[in-house]
Amino acid sequence: MPYPSDYKFTKQHEWIKANGKSASIGITHYAQESLGDIVFVDLPKVGSEIAAGTAFGSVESVKAVSDLYAPASGTVTEVNGELASTPEQINKDAHSAWMIKITLKDTGELNSLLSASDYEKFITEEGGQT
């Protein structure tokens, strides 16, 4: 699964795709693979504030519960409501199944995130340990 070069990534396995001041956020292919069948997502409401590095929601598979960490700070402008009834979309195509859209507080925050190639290197190393 290729990691899109116009996305940025966190070590907690979220992706963010920015377009000017607005950005979409989801979890990576690697994350959905580790979780297995995803059955539940808990996402913030439109208008809520999220802060880089802190939990903004959670995703659950049959077996596991995992917090979602914000790759960057901002205000939620849209929530992907479809995921409530069809969370398996995340398993099918994690990089197009966005969870929330935000207005970025500071686009500079994106510079500290991993590029696609850095992220791939990171998961190869992490995968090797487990």
Binding site: E33, G36, D37, V39, F40, D42, S58, E60, S61, V62, K63, V65, A84
Partner: protein
């Protein structure tokens, strides 16, 4: 170099470990064993679960332990350590039971198989193998009976689901149609003579568990032959993930969750497997006292009413938000398509229909007490 060698806990592997890896299973540590949790290439936990409900799935359960009691006083020995009445077993019959501490709480749950007149096989949990064997040995010294730990002698494969009987019949000369649920037989399976075949399982479905030699080559050969023979029935290999969701739908207890050394038989609702009328057994006195005092908490089934999944260890709250109990096992139920859980709550909150809240990420999420088992198969055997 440090003078003291670090003692890393040894993770044990079954004879099928290499096969699981070749099949791309996701491996996890479970009770000291490295086991497959799911096989993503076959579709993962939900597919595995539903295939067992509607067709057939196979599980490596070689991590389970086996203790044989044999000799002139094998029956009195079993009776002393087991709460069910083994004197009711015919040769070739099995029963669910448990071994108890003197206070009426659980050493472990077991399936007692009567292999011959004076020969019994106890199948026990992986995480309690050594504890159980020591318990059996130490508490049966007064009986003229041999106690053997056969845990490492067998690979145990479970073939579970409505098509399990048709699958296994292709591979054995034993007539499976005459083996009823919780009975056993012996026959040639995949060329292995005198193989123990028990119509038992931990999924809430019809199915079989076979006990074959634990060497890697034989185990792998039999595993692949079962998968091959099962293709026409849509067989899939299943991991511990679906084993857990299947047993939860069927309300089969898991040691360390619904039963433990701090939970007694009445609380766990396992009365029907406990025979206080039979000759004395360890735990009986305390259980009779406990019954006279009145049982204070009960294991109940919960179904989530609001959005949320109850998980093991989550708190159960009353309407005012007070903690009144806890979830022992909770999960999405793939076949029932509901979020279900088992929980210990005070008896006064255990009535069917009672609304209880489960604390999920610091919020009370509504659930209700429902009848159990959540899932019950249509019985043919």
């Amino acid at each position: 170099m440090p003078a003291v060698e670090a003692t890393t806990p040894v993770i044990r592997k079954t004879a099928l470990n290499r096969v699981h890896r070749q099949m791309g299973a996701k491996m996890v540590e479970f009770n000291g064993w490295e086991m497959p949790v799911e096989y993503p290439s076959a579709g993962g936990i939900i597919t595995e679960h539903n295939r067992v409900r509607t067709a057939v799935g196979i599980f490596d359960v070689s991590h389970m332990g086996d203790i044989r009691l044999s000799g002139p006083e094998a029956l009195p020995a079993v009776q002393h350590i087991s709460m069910n009445d083994a004197s009711r077993l015919a040769v070739g019959q099995a029963q669910y039971s448990a071994m108890l501490y003197p206070q009426g709480t659980f050493v472990d749950d077991v399936i007692v198989h009567r292999l011959a007149d004076n020969e019994y096989l106890l199948v026990i949990n992986a995480g309690t193998r050594e504890k159980d064997f020591n318990w059996v040995r130490d508490n049966t010294r007064q009986f003229n009976c041999n106690i053997e730990n056969l845990s490492d002698d067998f690979s145990q494969i479970a073939i579970q689901g409505p098509e399990g009987v048709n699958l296994l019949q292709k591979l054995t000369n034993a007539d499976l149609s005459i083996v009823k649920f919780y009975w056993l037989t012996r026959g040639t399976v995949c060329g292995l003579k005198n193989t123990l075949i028990a119509r038992t399982g931990y999924t809430g479905e019809d199915g079989f568990e076979i006990y074959i030699p634990a060497d890697e080559a034989t185990s792998a050969r039999v595993w692949h032959e079962i998968l091959q023979a099962g293709r026409e029935f849509g067989v899939v290999a299943c991991g511990l993930g679906s084993r857990n969701t299947l047993r939860l739908e069927a309300k089969l207890p898991l040691y360390g969750h619904e039963i433990s050394d701090t939970i007694n038989v009445w609380e766990a609702g396992l009365d029907r497997f406990c025979n206080v009328e039979k000759p004395d057994f360890i735990g009986r006195t305390a259980l009779e006292e406990s019954r006279a005092e009145g049982v204070k908490r009960a294991l109940v089934g919960l179904e989530m009413v609001e959005r949320g999944i109850a998980r093991d260890g989550y708190k159960v709250l009353d309407k005012a938000g007070n903690e009144i109990g806890y979830i022992t096992s909770g999960s999405p139920a793939p076949f029932l398509k509901k979020n279900i859980a088992l929980a210990y709550v005070p008896v006064k909150s255990a009535a069917i229909g009672t609304t209880l809240n489960v604390e999920i990420r610091r919020q009370g999420v509504k659930s209700k007490v429902v009848p159990t088992p959540f899932y019950r198969r249509a019985r043919k055997t």
